[in-house]
Structures are given as structure tokens and as C-alpha cells.
């Protein structure tokens, strides 16, 4: 027997798993999150769900910690993105050169992207420990510093350490994207420029950078949105401390939900994050022109 499905049937059949999964495990939870934002819900008492209207939002907007978290998230995101982009492009250019053995370096430098955050955060807590960590010890021995650096115990340094961790882990993502683009730039362009007598700097500014512009804009927007909402890197490295100096909105939401037992407030924070995210997405769609050419290639 031969089963012959019409195109329409195949189309629907292929879409079905996506629709079911998305409805049950994406749309429902998001709807649930939005609904919860209007309730008081203490997870210790799962049976009491109390409608409170906009109270949760008022509470958040009145909470200085929310605004601190917001400001800190901007600092954390801004510096992370700056370093990731600069280092990412720089390293990608280095890795793009045709040297023997470059593949090994490429593999090793992309490596941090796959290391579990748990592993790296705990490692860092140890090697950056101001008293018994090897980083301070090495710097002291080399004479770079004369006194232990309190990597994780002053607000500024803790933020810097968290940013450093984020840069360490996600610069490879930028490298991957930039490398992918670099590999599509025709070498003839460079040859022509060389013939015209353009130096390395000129060639970078005139050829490479314009070619990378498009991919960089996309990568920056993506990384900005993700970094802004990152939870694990901060939580596992500093738990938002010292004080609340490395809180971002994600840590704020988690602490409200789990430590303060206010899941409603956590959900409301989530709703605010979704709103910010939609704004970010609109920016992305604008700058990338995504979806403008709608014909199948």
C-alpha cells in the first residue's frame, strides 16, 4: 500500500508537532506568567491565589532595588557588549589568517562557549578569591600589584569580575559569527586593494569593516538582549552581591520569587522584562531589515 498525502496534508502534518509543543510549553507558560503578575502567590501555600490587580507592578516601580537592578543591568550589558565586540572582531581577524596550525587555536579559543556556566563560575570564585586565589598570588609575584585585589568584594570589582566572566564565555559567540562572515568575503577585493597600494589598516577600514557591519549589528542586538537578561553568570558568581551591587532584573525576579516568596512580583518583573524585550526586538527588526525580502531564495 502506498500512502499518498497531498501537499496540504503534509504541510499541516509537519507543522502539527510545533504547534502542539509551542502551545503547551511556550504559550501557556507565558500566559501563566502574565496572569500571575496580577496575583499574590506564595509558593509555600500553593492553594491561596489572591487577585491584587496592579499591586505587584506598583510595588516593583516603588522598589529602589528594582531601579538599582535596572541601572546595574545597563552597566553590565554595556561593558560586556563593548568588550565582546572589540575582542571578538580582533580575535576573529587573527583566527582568519591562513597560518599553519590555526585550526587548533580556533578550537581552543571557541572553547569557553561550551563550558557549563556552573563549572566556570565556581572555578572563578576560587581562582579570583582575594585571599587564597591564584590570580592575586600570580599578580603579586609578578609585581603587577602590591596588595590583594578584592575581586568579588567591592561593588565595582564584583561588577567588573562578572563582566569579565561574561566576556570570557560569550566572546566566542561573536568570533563564530564574524568568522562565518569573513569566510564569505572574496579575497579578490583584498588583492585589488593591495594592487592599489592600500595598507593593512586601510584594507580593514575600507573592505573588512563595511562587510562586517551587517553581521555586527545583528550580533550586538542579540547579545544585548541576552546579556541584559542573563541570570546564571551573575547568580552563580556573586549571587547579586556584595550588597545588591550586581543585581540585574533576572536576579531580582529570582530573589523575589524564591527568597521572598512573592511569585506574583517575580512574574510582574518578568512581564516588564518581556515589554523591554519586545522593544529590543522591534529595534532588531528595523536595523536588520529582517523579513523584508519575503521570497524563498
Amino acid at each position: 500500500m502506498r500512502l499518498r498525502l497531498s501537499d496540504r496534508q503534509v504541510g499541516i502534518l509537519f507543522m502539527l508537532p510545533l504547534l502542539v509543543t509551542a502551545a503547551a510549553f511556550i504559550v501557556w507558560p507565558v500566559a501563566e506568567a502574565i496572569r500571575l503578575a496580577f496575583y499574590r502567590y506564595n509558593p509555600l501555600r500553593p492553594d491561596d491565589l489572591i487577585w491584587v490587580g496592579l499591586d505587584n507592578f506598583e510595588r516593583i516601580l516603588d522598589d529602589p532595588l528594582f531601579w538599582d537592578s535596572f541601572r546595574q543591568a545597563l552597566v553590565w550589558t554595556g561593558w560586556s557588549i563593548l568588550f565582546q565586540t572589540v575582542l571578538g572582531v580582533g580575535l576573529a581577524l587573527l583566527l582568519h589568517t591562513a597560518l599553519p596550525g590555526i585550526a587548533i587555536f580556533r578550537g581552543l579559543l571557541l572553547f569557553p562557549y561550551i563550558v557549563p556556566t556552573v563549572v566556570i563560575a565556581l572555578n572563578w570564585r576560587w581562582i579570583f578569591n582575594s585571599e587564597i586565589g591564584i590570580v592575586n598570588h600570580a599578580l603579586l609575584r609578578l609585581g603587577v600589584i602590591s596588595d590583594n585585589i578584592a575581586w568579588l568584594s567591592t561593588p565595582d570589582m564584583a561588577m567588573a569580575s562578572a563582566i569579565l566572566l561574561n566576556v570570557w564565555k560569550y566572546t566566542p559567540f561573536v568570533i563564530i559569527c564574524v568568522l562565518a562572515r569573513l569566510q564569505t568575503i572574496p579575497t579578490e577585493l583584498y588583492d585589488a586593494a593591495k594592487v592599489d597600494g592600500a595598507g593593512a589598516v586601510r584594507r580593514f577600514l575600507d573592505i573588512t569593516l563595511p562587510m562586517l557591519k551587517e553581521v555586527l549589528v545583528v550580533v550586538i542586538v542579540f547579545r544585548t538582549i541576552w546579556t541584559f537578561n542573563k541570570f546564571e553568570e551573575i547568580y552563580l558568581l556573586t549571587r547579586g552581591g556584595p550588597g545588591t551591587s550586581t543585581f540585574n532584573l533576572a536576579v531580582y525576579a529570582f530573589e523575589e520569587g524564591m527568597a521572598n516568596l512573592r511569585l506574583g512580583v517575580a512574574a510582574a518583573t518578568g512581564v516588564i522584562m518581556i515589554a523591554l524585550l519586545l522593544a529590543g526586538t522591534i529595534v532588531y527588526v528595523r536595523v536588520s531589515g529582517f523579513g523584508r525580502e519575503e521570497k524563498p531564495a
Binding site: L44, P46, S130, I132, N148, A150, T154, P242
Partner: protein, 457 residues
């Protein structure tokens, strides 16, 4: 177990892993698993506390053919509240919990716990309790007891005696705050590379505990259970304690501002501080890892406040609590807990499983020959007396401030470490002590307002 049997066990396990890895969970315990006993989960505090007790419970299960296996689950450092919250929200609580007192009080007031007066009667808890403790202090709420006493842990002054003697700093047992702070200063000045004093100041439970004991010593408290749980945090006594912490901070390691339990112990055991605030575990770890430190380590009651004379110690007055809802094991758990608690043998083994961190709460256990046979009694008798007995009159905690009554609000405030946050505002943001205290007062007041239903009516 010898090395060779161990090796062969390893090999078997590896083969099994290769052959049927997915089955591993089902094959977990062939020795006990015959007939497929039901598994009842038991939470111990972070650390290996619960293990020995739970073995005792399993002995009960075997002798009574209860077809049940108790399994201890350690709560990791990152997960006390998260685990509690998610398990209760998921309506699948553990069968039995040992958790720090303030959280136990909170759960009792929430009405989430099973009354255990019957167990306490069966083990004659009231008669056996060490002088100075009452049943209510372990987890009583409105006349009902929800906790079966299991151990107590006081936070005290840990010193390296050789340094104190060498610098001629006097007898720590007789120190007031003044002499204590001066000693810390002298050490910092005379011993480069060594901190005078170490306590936790990070945004965590440990800092909450160590900060509040100073507040009580000065005569302050957070809420007053004797007066409708009014928020009384913004007293001059609290401000004085904050000022004292700021003074001490100059003699602490700079990273103390992010220290928690682990870092304080690390600091002491690696010989980087001459004194610290801690529970018994510092001595236990020193004995395991740093013999020379252990040999010169002594515990003292906390230095007295010069005016009040207070030497209060944040003491975990720890009892077993039993979740009442969605718990299919209540009857078995009660019987097994009674079985182990009634056995002096098991209780001694439990106390000794982490010497000297789990202080015995029953007289017969504290004075049992087996207990006194522990090698620590040879060299550290004075210190053990301080930890196990002489600290008891000074024992209270954030849920039982100044022993004025149980207060369920503390557990909630610990969720976001309000005490530690207030101190951090002073130390990190350079707020005046008074301003930082007032900030804390507002947080505590809002916690009280939000949770009126817990304390009212």
C-alpha cells in the same frame, strides 16, 4: 571495606553503567531494594548532618518490616529556600526536615507542619532536655509543639590561643566588647598577614546570624513578640551594634563583606585569622585538615557587652519537623524518629558524626560514656563544655530573640538577608549606622505588614 573489594565494586558499577546506564536509578540499592520499599525523603541541613540519624531510622524500618527506606537528601548551599519553596509548591514535600530554627518557626506558623506532641511524649523529651532548653524553643507555636529536639549549635568566639598568649591579650573568657576589639586591633597591627577577627558580612544567612547576636548583646532586637511583634529594630542598641561592627571591620579581611559560612571557616582553618565567629564546625574541619591550628584552637562565650553584660549567641535550636500536607509517611516517620531519639547509642553517634558541631540536647546523651569517649574530650574538654553546656543560657536566635518568644517573621526576613543588607549599606555605601538601621527597620516593618496573617489572631 578493603581497597580490593572497593575496586571490584567500582568495576562492577562501571560495567553496569556501560551496559544499562538508564537502569541505574532502579538498581540503586540491591541490598535493601528487595520487595521495592517505598522511599521517604529526609532533608538534613547543608552538610552531612542527617546521615547517621537516618541510618537509625532505617534500622527501625528493617526491624519493623515497614517496607520503607529513608533516604537523606543534603540541601546544597545554594538551595535551602529554593528547595523548600519548590517542593512545597509542587505538593511533594520531604517526609521529614531538619532545618534552621527560624524557618521551622515560619513553617509552623504557616500551619504546614504536623504536631509532634505525641512523639515528644514517647521519648520523654521534656524530662531529658538539657537544663536551659524548653520544648517550645525547638518549634512551638500557640501552645502546640511542631519539632522533636535533635541538636543545638551555638555561634561563639573561636580563637587561636597561642597568638592571644603571645601578645598578652588577657583571658578571652573575661573580655568585654572593648577588650575584644582592642585585641583584634593589636593582632592586626602586630601580625601582618593575619586578620584580627573574621565574621561573615555577605548577603547571606551566616552574616544575618552573626550580626544579630551583636545586636542582642547590646540589648536590641528586631521584633518584640511580647508586644504584638512590633518592629523595634531602630533602637539605639542596634545602632551601637552597627557602630561596633564598623569598628571590627577594620580588623577583618577585606573580603569579609562577601563572606558566608564557608569563607569564615576557610579563613580560620587556613590560618589567616586569629579569631572568628563560628559554630563548632571550624574545630571539626581544623581537626581534619590542619592539626597545628586545631591544637591551639579554643572556643569562648561571646565577649560581654560592657553595659548589658549580654553574651547572646545565635544558636540553632534544631528539631525535626514533619510537613503535614501531601506527606504519606507521617506515621512511619514519627515512629522512626521516636525510635532513634530513644536510643542513646544512636544519638551519641549522631552527635559525634560532626564533632563538635551538633551539640546533644538530651542529658543522657551528653553524659553517656560513649559520648565522653570521643578523643576531643582528651584535649579540648573546656571548649566542648563551652559549646555544649555553658553556651545554653545565652542561646537564642532570630526567631527567638532574647528568648522572649517564638517569632515566625524571621524566616521570611532571612530569605533576603535583611540584617546583612542593612550592615552592607553601612559598610559598602558608607551610610551612617543610624540611616542603615532605619533602612532595615523599614524592611522589617514591611515584612511584618505583609505577613500579619501569620502573627495575628
Amino acid at each position: 571495606m578493603t581497597a580490593s573489594t572497593r575496586l571490584s565494586a567500582t568495576r562492577r558499577r562501571l560495567l553496569q553503567g556501560a551496559g544499562g546506564a538508564a537502569l541505574a536509578a532502579g538498581l540503586a540499592a540491591p541490598a535493601i531494594a528487595q520487595g521495592g520499599p517505598r522511599v521517604a525523603r529526609v532533608w538534613g541541613e547543608p552538610g552531612p548532618y542527617g546521615g547517621v540519624f537516618v541510618q537509625g531510622m532505617n534500622e527501625w524500618a528493617q526491624r519493623n518490616n515497614a517496607n520503607i527506606r529513608f533516604e537523606v537528601e543534603q540541601i546544597p548551599w545554594d538551595g535551602v529556600t529554593v528547595k523548600l519553596t519548590t517542593d512545597l509548591a509542587a505538593r511533594r514535600p520531604p517526609a521529614l526536615i531538619s532545618v534552621e530554627s527560624p524557618i521551622a518557626y515560619q513553617l509552623a506558623a504557616e500551619g504546614l507542619l504536623e504536631p509532634v506532641d505525641d512523639v515528644n511524649t514517647a521519648i520523654r523529651a521534656k524530662e531529658r532536655l538539657i537544663e536551659g532548653f524548653t520544648l517550645e524553643q525547638f518549634g512551638g507555636w500557640k501552645g502546640t509543639n511542631y519539632a522533636v529536639p535533635v541538636h543545638h549549635q551555638p555561634c561563639l568566639l573561636v580563637v587561636q590561643q597561642d597568638i592571644i598568649d603571645e601578645l598578652g591579650l588577657g583571658n578571652p573568657a573575661q573580655w568585654t566588647w572593648e577588650e575584644f576589639a582592642n585585641a583584634a586591633r593589636t593582632i592586626t597591627e602586630k601580625k601582618p598577614g593575619l586578620a584580627g577577627y573574621t565574621m561573615a558580612l555577605g548577603r547571606n544567612l551566616c552574616a544575618d546570624y552573626q550580626i544579630t547576636q551583636l545586636i542582642w548583646q547590646a540589648g536590641g532586637m528586631t521584633w518584640d513578640p511580647a508586644d504584638q511583634f512590633k518592629t523595634v529594630f531602630d533602637s539605639p542598641a542596634t545602632v551601637e551594634a552597627f557602630e561596633f561592627i564598623r569598628r571590627l571591620n577594620a580588623y577583618m579581611p577585606r573580603a569579609a563583606i562577601e563572606f558566608s559560612f564557608l569563607q569564615v571557616v576557610d579563613q580560620h582553618v587556613t590560618g589567616r585569622t586569629a579569631m572568628s565567629a563560628y559554630w563548632g564546625r571550624t574545630m571539626g574541619r581544623a581537626a581534619e585538615e590542619a592539626k597545628p591550628i586545631f591544637e591551639r584552637m579554643e572556643y569562648y562565650l561571646n565577649p560581654a557587652h560592657p553595659r548589658t553584660g549580654g553574651r547572646w549567641s545565635w544558636t540553632d535550636i534544631n528539631g525535626w519537623i514533619i510537613p503535614a500536607r501531601d506527606n504519606p509517611f507521617i506515621r512511619e516517620v514519627k515512629e522512626a524518629v521516636a525510635y532513634v531519639s530513644n536510643s542513646v547509642d544512636w544519638m551519641v553517634r549522631y552527635s559525634q558524626s560532626l564533632m563538635p558541631n551538633v551539640g546533644p540536647v538530651f542529658k543522657d546523651v551528653a553524659s553517656a560514656p560513649a559520648m565522653l569517649a570521643h578523643p576531643f574530650y582528651q584535649t579540648k574538654k573546656r571548649t566542648l563544655d563551652v559549646i555544649f553546656e555553658r553556651s545554653v543560657p545565652h542561646a537564642c536566635n532570630t526567631g527567638l530573640e532574647l528568648k522572649k518568644g517564638v517569632n515566625p517573621l524571621a524566616g521570611i526576613a532571612h530569605g533576603s538577608s535583611v540584617w546583612a543588607q542593612a550592615v552592607q549599606r553601612m559598610l559598602l555605601n558608607n551610610e551612617a549606622p543610624k540611616a542603615a538601621v532605619e533602612w532595615g527597620h523599614r524592611q522589617f516593618e514591611s515584612i511584618r505588614r505583609d505577613n500579619r496573617r501569620l502573627i495575628g489572631g
